[in-house]
C-alpha cells in the first residue's frame, strides 16, 4: 500500500488512486508522414524498466487530477511527484526522464520551448 503524495491533496493511501501507465507519451500528430509502425508504437509499446520509471497516476477517489510520479519499480521508492505538463526536478527524476525513449507530449514541448526561450533572453 503505497503512500502517495497527491500534488493537490497531500499524502493518501494508494487505494484512492489509479495508475495510468507510462508518462510523457506524446500523441503523434496526424499527418501523411505518420507511419503505421510509429502509430502502433504509440498505441501498444510501453517502457518496462527495472528501476527508475516515470508514470502517470490519477487521484480517482479524491480531486480526480492526473499527475506524474517518479518511482523505482523494484523498491517502490517514490522520488518525486509533479504536475502534468511540467518536468521532474529531482536527480532521479531527471535521470529517468533522460532515459525515456519516447518523445515528449505536445504541452511539455511547448513548456520546454518556453524554458529554452526564457533562457535565451
Amino acid at each position: 500500500m503505497l503512500n502517495i503524495e497527491c500534488p493537490y491533496c497531500g499524502f493518501r493511501d494508494e487505494i484512492e488512486f489509479s495508475c495510468g501507465g507510462e508518462a510523457h507519451i506524446s500523441r503523434p500528430e496526424l499527418n501523411d508522414k505518420l507511419s503505421d509502425k510509429e502509430w502502433s508504437e504509440y498505441l501498444y509499446s510501453s517502457y518496462n524498466p527495472k528501476g527508475l520509471f516515470i508514470e502517470r497516476w490519477v487521484h480517482s477517489a479524491g480531486c480526480r487530477q492526473w499527475f506524474n510520479m517518479v518511482r523505482n519499480t523494484v523498491t517502490n521508492e517514490i522520488y518525486e511527484v509533479y504536475k502534468i505538463g511540467s518536468l521532474p526536478k529531482t536527480k532521479e527524476g531527471l535521470l529517468a526522464f533522460k532515459n525515456n525513449w519516447r518523445r515528449k507530449t505536445k504541452s511539455e514541448l511547448i513548456d520546454l520551448k518556453k524554458k529554452k526561450n526564457n533562457g535565451k533572453k
Partner: protein, 999 residues
C-alpha cells in the same frame, strides 16, 4: 493436581477449568495455554508429522512451535492447524490432534516411516508418472495423505471481522524488554505511540524468566507494573494478542488483533492497517534446536521453553532431564529445573571446557557436565526413554568407545539464539552474517525503522536496555526535535559466556546418520539427508534448497529450522554462510485468516447496491430486478401469473400499440461547459459537432485510440457552450474518467469543464404512439406538435409545476420523449404520468423489454454488440464517421482496420423455425461437418422473441456478413443440435423509421 505440575508453585491464574483433547476430559487453569495444560497432564504425544507420520510432541512455548498443531472447536467454528502454544484455555475447550487415523497412538499412516527411504525430499518430482492416466488415481490418495488439519465441513465462516486504519508517530513491534523500555522512553514525549505484541500480555521473554531483576523488582512484576503505567497514558495504544504479520511499503504495517478475549465483542479479529512515521522492531530472539538423530521424539524440547513452562505455568514434561547445549543459556534451565525438584541426569555441552559465573553456580550444585560430548542418539518409541551420549574428538569425530546410555524422559536442547529478522527483511532491509554469534543480523535499513534488542543481535540484557533508550531518543529528536530526560533502569541478570560452538562441524561422521532421522525442519519432515540429497542433485542455492526440500515452507516459516539448514548446506558446499545467503522473508509472519482480509466487505456490504429514486414504486409493484453493474434495475413487471416471456411480450407489444414508460435514471450524464466544448467533443466523438445549435440533439459514438467502439450516447447542445452528454449505464464512470484524462493530460489548453450529473436527474423514458397525448394530459406546458418539437431536439418546460428537460430521442423506434427532472421529483413525476396515462393503457416496461424493442430496430448496445474489438465500420455505421475532421480519437487506427478484409460485420438472423430462439453467444459456422476443424464465422450478440414481428430475431457479428445477406447460416448448440437460419439486414421492424418521425 495434574501429574506434571510443580509442587508448591504459586499460580496467579484464575479458576480451574476442564477441556477435551482427543475426546479425553482433562483439567487445567483458565488462561494458560493448551500446550502447558497438556504438559501438565503428561500428554507427550500431540500429533503426527506431515510426511512420515512420526509421533511428535510440544517443543516450544510460542509462535515458533512447529509440531503441536491441533484443531479446535467444532461445527462451523472448526479451526485447523492452530498451535497448541497459542490456544488459551477456557471452560469446555475442544481440541483434537491432526493427521492421524484412526487415532493418535495407533496411526495407520505411521507405516510410511518404513518406506521412508523411498520418499525423501522431492520424491514426487520423480514418481507417479506412469501410466499417464494413472495420475487421476494417484492424486486421489495423495490428497488424502497430504496436509495437516482439515477445514470445517460447513464452508461459511460465522465470525465477523473488521479493519481499522491508524496513523501513529511510532509503532513498536514487540512488547518484550526492549519494546517496553522504548515505549517507556517515548511515553513522555506526547507522540502518538502504538505497541503491539503477539502474546496475551506485554513482557515477552521476561514472563518466562526468574533470574532477571529490573530496578530490584522481578522482571515479570516489572513488566506488569510498566504495562499498567502505559495503560494510563492517553498517547499510548497497547495491542496484545496481536500478530504483526506484514511490513509493507512506506511504513505500512498490518496487524491481526485477536479480539476473542474482549468481553461482549461481536468482532472476532480486527485488522489494523497502520501507517507509522517511525517503526521500532523489537521482536526478540527465537531459540534454535540442535540437529541430532531422533531429535524429533516427544520429550525433546527447546531449553528456554522448558524453563518458560516451569517459571510461568509451573509444569515440566518429565522427571529425569538431560540438557544438551552449545552455549551458556541452557544452564539457566538447569538451575530452574533443579529448584523445581527435577533430577538432572547430566548436561551435555558440545564445547570444550568453558567457564563463567553461571557455569560455576551449576557445578556447585553438583550437576555433572560432559564437555566436548554430543547426544548421538535418542531412544524411545512414542517418547524419550533413554539417550546415548558420546565423546567428540577435536575434529568432531565420534569416539565409539566412549558411548554412555543414560535414562531420561526430557531432553532440553539449546542450539543458540536467532534474531527474529522476519519483519526487518520484509521491510527491504539487508542482513549480514555474524560469525561470532552464528546469526544473521540487520545491517542495511531501507525504511524508516530501527531494530533494537534481540532482533538486532544484542543478546545482553544491559546492552539491550541501553540500546533501546539510545535509539528511541534519536527517533524523538528526529520527529519533534526534543531531548528526553533520562530513563533510569538497573538490570540484574545472569552473567554468562557468549561463546557458541557451531553444531555442524561433525557432519562428516557417517554413523551419526545411520538412521538418518536427524530432523532439520520438523513441520515439513525435512531431515539432514534431505538437505544433503538436494545438494547432491545440484540444488546448491539456498532458494533451490528451500523449494526442493520444502525446508522453511511450513506454517512456522522455518522459525526453528532456517539457520540449521543453512549451516548444513554451508559445510557440505564448503562455503561460508554469507556466500550462500538467505531466502526472502514474506508476509505473513504467522498465519492469518482469509476472513480477516475480507473484513467488513462481505455479504450485503460487499459492493454498494445502487437504486434509483423511483425504485420504491418498482418495489411496490413487485418488479423483478436485474443487476447492471452496481445498479439494480427493474427487469420486467410480471402481472398475475405471468412468467418472464409473457410479461416481456406484453410490455413490448403494448409500447408499440399504446405507450410504455421506462426508468432510465441510471444512464450516465455528463455536463460539459466551456468555450472549447465543441473542439473537445470533436476529438472525442467520430462525427462533426461544429454546427450543432442549442436545442439540438445528436447521436455520437466514441472510439478507443485503437479505433474500436467504446461507448455511445446522445449529446445535446443546451446552450452554445454547454452540452449534456449521455453514456451507457455501465460506461458512465469510465467515460467520465476518459474525458478527464484527455482534457487534463493531452489538451489542458482547451477551456472545457466536465462534471458528472448522473444522479442529479431522474430520467423517465415515455415511448409509443400515444406518448404525446399522455405527456400533454400530464400537464406538460410545452407545445408538443411535430413542427414545434421535432425529433432529435430538446425543450425546457414544466409538467404540473415540476421543472423538466425533455429530449425527443428514441431508443425504441417509437415516438419517444426522454423526460429529465431533478431526481427529487422523479418518483412524484413517475406516478403522475402513470396516473394520467392510465386511460391510454400506459404500462411501465423494464430493461428486458427495452432490449427487445431496440433489437427489433437493430439499434446496438455497447457491450452487447461490441466487445472492444468492434469498429463502427463493422457495425455498418460509416455514416457516423466524419470525412472532414482532421483528427479524432481512433481516426488513425480506423485507417488501418478499415483495410482489413473479412472482418465480422453486424447482421440480423432469422431462424428457419420462427419459434426457435438462438442462445446468445452461439457461434455460427459455414459448413456442417461431422468432425473438427470447422471454421467459425462469428457469434450471436443479441437474441430475443419479438412479439411485434411474431417470431424470433437475433443480431450477430459474422465475417463478411453484409455481403452474405440472404445466405444460410448454421448455429450448433451445446446440446448437439444445429439451428439453421438466414442472414438479413439488421432491422426487423419499421425499417423506414416512420414511427420515429411520428406525426
Amino acid at each position: 493436581m495434574e501429574k506434571n505440575r510443580i509442587k508448591n508453585f504459586s499460580i496467579d491464574f484464575r479458576k480451574k477449568v476442564f477441556f477435551y483433547f482427543d475426546n479425553k476430559k482433562l483439567y487445567g487453569f483458565e488462561g494458560e495455554t493448551l500446550a502447558s495444560a497438556l504438559i501438565a497432564n503428561n500428554i507427550k504425544l500431540v500429533g503426527r508429522s506431515f510426511k512420515y507420520h512420526r509421533p511428535r510432541g510440544i517443543i516450544a512455548i510460542g509462535s515458533e512451535e512447529p509440531n503441536a498443531l491441533v484443531t479446535i472447536n467444532k461445527g462451523d467454528k472448526t479451526e485447523p492447524n492452530i498451535q497448541a502454544t497459542k490456544v488459551h484455555l477456557y471452560q469446555g475447550l475442544i481440541a483434537k490432534s491432526q493427521n492421524c487415523w484412526p487415532n493418535l497412538k495407533y496411526d495407520f499412516g505411521s507405516i510410511l516411516s518404513f518406506f521412508s527411504k523411498l520418499i525423501p525430499a522431492g520424491f514426487y518430482y520423480k514418481t507417479f508418472m506412469w501410466p499417464p492416466n494413472g495420475w487421476k488415481t494417484y492424486e486421489h490418495f495423495i490428497r488424502k495423505m497430504a496436509g495437516l488439519g482439515k477445514a470445517a465441513e460447513i464452508h461459511k465462516d460465522p465470525n465477523r471481522y473488521e479493519h481499522v486504519h491508524s496513523h501513529v508517530d511510532v509503532l513498536i513491534v514487540g512488547g518484550g524488554i526492549s519494546g517496553l523500555v522504548s515505549c517507556l522512553t517515548l511515553a513522555n514525549s506526547n507522540l502518538n505511540i502504538m505497541i503491539a505484541d503477539e502474546n496475551e500480555e506485554l513482557g515477552g521473554n521476561l514472563n518466562y524468566e526468574n533470574d532477571v531483576f529490573i530496578n530490584s523488582v522481578a522482571a515479570k512484576k516489572w513488566a506488569k507494573q510498566t504495562t499498567k503505567k502505559l495503560e494510563n497514558l492517553e498517547n499510548v495504544k497497547i495491542l496484545t494478542h496481536s500478530n504483526v504479520f506484514g511490513y509493507h511499503d512506506h511504513n505500512f504495517i498490518t496487524i491481526s488483533e485477536n479480539c476473542e478475549h474482549e468481553v461482549s465483542n461481536k468482532i472476532t479479529q480486527r485488522l489494523w492497517k497502520v501507517r507509522a512515521k517511525r517503526v521500532v522492531l523489537a521482536q526478540g530472539l527465537i531459540e534454535r534446536p540442535i540437529v541430532f538423530s531422533g531429535n524429533d521424539l516427544p520429550g525433546v524440547m527447546l531449553s528456554s521453553a522448558v524453563r518458560g513452562y516451569a517459571n510461568k505455568y509451573g509444569v515440566v514434561l518429565g522427571k529425569k532431564a538431560i540438557i544438551f547445549t552449545n552455549n551458556d543459556d541452557a544452564y539457566r534451565t538447569a538451575l530452574v529445573l533443579y529448584k523445581a525438584g527435577i533430577k538432572i541426569q547430566c548436561i551435555v555441552d558440545l564445547r570444550e571446557q568453558v567457564s563463567s559465573k553461571l557455569l560455576s553456580k551449576v557445578q556447585n550444585i553438583g550437576i555433572e557436565i560432559f564437555f566436548g560430548h554430543t547426544l548421538s542418539k535418542v531412544i524411545g518409541r512414542y517418547c524419550v526413554k533413554k539417550v546415548e551420549v558420546s565423546k567428540l574428538s577435536k575434529e568432531g569425530k565420534i569416539n565409539s568407545n566412549s558411548k554412555k546410555i543414560i535414562n531420561a524422559d526430557l531432553v532440553a536442547v539449546s542450539g543458540g539464539w536467532t534474531p527474529s529478522v522476519n519483519l526487518f527483511s520484509q521491510s527491504g532491509g539487508k542482513l549480514k552474517w555474524d560469525s561470532q554469534s552464528l546469526n544473521f543480523k540487520p545491517s542495511f535499513h531501507f525504511q524508516n525503522e530501527v531494530t533494537i534488542g534481540g532482533c538486532n543481535g544484542t543478546f545482553d540484557y544491559e546492552k539491550t536496555v541501553l540500546e533501546s533508550i539510545d535509539k528511541t531518543k534519536v527517533i524523538v529528536k528526529d520527529l519533534i526535535n526534543k531531548n528526553l530526560r533520562e530513563t533510569n533502569l538497573k538490570i540484574d541478570s545472569p552473567k554468562f559466556n557468549k561463546s557458541l560452538r557451531s553444531t555442524w562441524f561433525f557432519n562428516s561422521s557417517k554413523d551419526i546418520f545411520k538412521n538418518d532421522k536427524a530432523f532439520v525442519d520438523f513441520q515439513n519432515d525435512v531431515t539432514v539427508s534431505d538437505v544433503l540429497l538436494a545438494s547432491n542433485e545440484g540444488y546448491n542455492s539456498v532458494e533451490h534448497l528451500k523449494r526442493y526440500t520444502t525446508l522453511g515452507m511450513g506454517t512456522d516459516q522455518g522459525k526453528t529450522s532456517n539457520i540449521n539448514g543453512l549451516e548444513i548446506l554451508s559445510v557440505k558446499l564448503n562455503k561460508a554462510i554469507p556466500e550462500i545467503g538467505t531466502t526472502t522473508f514474506r508476509m505473513p509472519y504467522s498465519p492469518v485468516r482469509l476472513g480477516l482480509i475480507g473484513g467488513r466487505d462481505i455479504s450485503d456490504l460487499f459492493d454498494p447496491i445502487r437504486l434509483t429514486k423511483i425504485d420504491p414504486w418498482h418495489r411496490l409493484n413487485k418488479a423483478k430486478y436485474e443487476n447492471v453493474g452496481q445498479w439494480m434495475r427493474a427487469w420486467y413487471y410480471p402481472q398475475d401469473n405471468e412468467n418472464m416471456q409473457t410479461a416481456v411480450n406484453r410490455e413490448v407489444l403494448n409500447t408499440r400499440l399504446n405507450a410504455g414508460i421506462l426508468d432510465a435514471s441510471t444512464l450516465g450524464k455528463i455536463d460539459i461547459k466551456g468555450k472549447d466544448s465543441r473542439k473537445f467533443l470533436n476529438m472525442i466523438y467520430t462525427n462533426d459537432w461544429s454546427l450543432i445549435k442549442p436545442g439540438q440533439c445528436k447521436y455520437g459514438i466514441m472510439l478507443n485510440e485503437d479505433g474500436m467502439v467504446m461507448d455511445d450516447g446522445v449529446t445535446t447542445c443546451i446552450e452554445n457552450n454547454h452540452f449534456h452528454m449521455t453514456t451507457t449505464t455501465g460506461g458512465s464512470a469510465s467515460v467520465l474518467s476518459w474525458l478527464e484524462e484527455w482534457s487534463q493530460t493531452e489538451w489542458p489548453h482547451l477551456d472545457v469543464n466536465i462534471t458528472s450529473v448522473t444522479e442529479n436527474w431522474s430520467v423517465l423514458s415515455l415511448s409509443g404512439p400515444k406518448a404525446r397525448e399522455i405527456l400533454s394530459q400530464s400537464g406538460c406546458d410545452i407545445d408538443l406538435s411535430n413542427k414545434n418539437f421535432p425529433f432529435m431536439t430538446f425543450k425546457n418546460g414544466k409538467i404540473g409545476g415540476i421543472p423538466v428537460r425533455i429530449f425527443r430521442i428514441s431508443f425504441t423506434g417509437e415516438l419517444s420523449y426522454e423526460i429529465n427532472t431533478p431526481s427529487r421529483y422523479g418518483l412524484y413525476l413517475w406516478q403522475k404520468i402513470l396516473k394520467s396515462g392510465g386511460k391510454f393503457n400506459l404500462m411501465p416496461y423494464g430493461t428486458e423489454a427495452m432490449h427487445v424493442l431496440r433489437a427489433e430496430k437493430g439499434f446496438i448496445i455497447v457491450g452487447q454488440e461490441t466487445d472492444g474489438s468492434v469498429s463502427p465500420l463493422d457495425l455498418g455505421m460509416d455514416w457516423i464517421i466524419s470525412k472532414n475532421k482532421k483528427d479524432f480519437i481512433g481516426k488513425r487506427s480506423l485507417k488501418i482496420s478499415s483495410t482489413i478484409k473479412n472482418r465480422k460485420e453486424l447482421v440480423g438472423i432469422l431462424t428457419d423455425n420462427s419459434e426457435q430462439i438462438i442462445p446468445e453467444g452461439a457461434h455460427s459456422i459455414e459448413d456442417v461437418k461431422s468432425s473438427p476443424p470447422v471454421e467459425m464465422l462469428g457469434h450471436v450478440t443479441s437474441s430475443y422473441y419479438s412479439p411485434n414481428c411474431n417470431r424470433s430475431i437475433a443480431l450477430a457479428l459474422i465475417k463478411g456478413g453484409r455481403s452474405k445477406i440472404g445466405q444460410k447460416v448454421f448455429f450448433p448448440t451445446l446440446d448437439g443440435d444445429i439451428i439453421t437460419g438466414k442472414l438479413v439486414k439488421p432491422n426487423f421492424f419499421d425499417p423506414n423509421g416512420d414511427r420515429l418521425n411520428g406525426i
